[in-house]
Symmetry: C2
Subunit: 145 residues, 2 copies
């Protein structure tokens, strides 16, 4: 498997170990991980630090020209907010671990010129299936439902 | 003028006083401000804390049914990321101070059922015009250009 998706899965597992929501993300530029993060709703009481946002925040202030060469990896299909962050920064490619347990606006991302690759990784699916089954209210909160 | 837009402008001015980008936001539920914030790019080196995101973060973890009665005020038209956050949480109404210095995806927001009200407030415009004139590189960074 792609080492970068594996790194995102490791981030998701960090979230699990902290009692959080098992979604992880890394940002890659020129073959190097420049940011990584995981969902912080439980750990920090955060309404905005989805894994992808935590990852972008960890990468810090990056030049527009660098975002334009970046790929964002996430274990789960990015929601409206995280997809919007991809559009804000002109990140051209998103690699998604799985989109069966939740599917964000990937058609809209594609219509705006973003390449969206769906891996359909079993480990990503199992992390989410187990989490949703055991924590349905927390999961609904995270996706605004 | 609307007291809530005035509160968002006060947030923008806090940002100016801190040497930051002059954009402010408040979240209102049932006639009460439940969150407020301003852009934190300069102050915290943040890539994700636009005013609206900072405001949502300050409001904390809110029930979906409460977001559904909320109005988000921003001194400036929300970008793709902040508009995405509005969609994630199903916030039904956004009041925008001005959209002349920057215009986010308001047609897309409306197509997804969000009411978008443009006030075209002179003070909001002047804050941004002065800032952009004096800090063009910082402004471009904030909008991913």
């Amino acid at each position: 498997m792609d080492d970068f998706l594996q790194a995102a899965i490791e981030e998701a597992k960090k979230g699990v170990a902290e009692g959080g929501i098992p979604i992880g993300s890394v940002l890659v530029i020129d073959g190097r991980i420049v940011g990584s993060g995981h969902n912080r709703r439980v750990q920090q009481g955060s309404a905005v630090l989805h894994a992808e946002m935590d990852c972008l925040e960890s990468a810090g202030r990056i030049k527009a020209s660098d975002y334009r060469r970046a790929t964002l990896y996430s274990t789960l299909s990015p929601c409206d907010m995280c997809s919007g962050a991809v559009l804000l920064y002109g990140i051209p490619k998103v690699v998604v671990g799985e989109n069966r347990t939740f599917c964000g606006p990937q058609a809209y991302l594609r219509s705006r010129g973003v390449e969206v690759v769906i891996v359909d990784n079993q480990e990503c699916r199992e992390l989410m299936e187990s989490f949703i089954q055991n924590n349905p209210a927390l999961w609904n909160e995270d996706i605004g439902e």
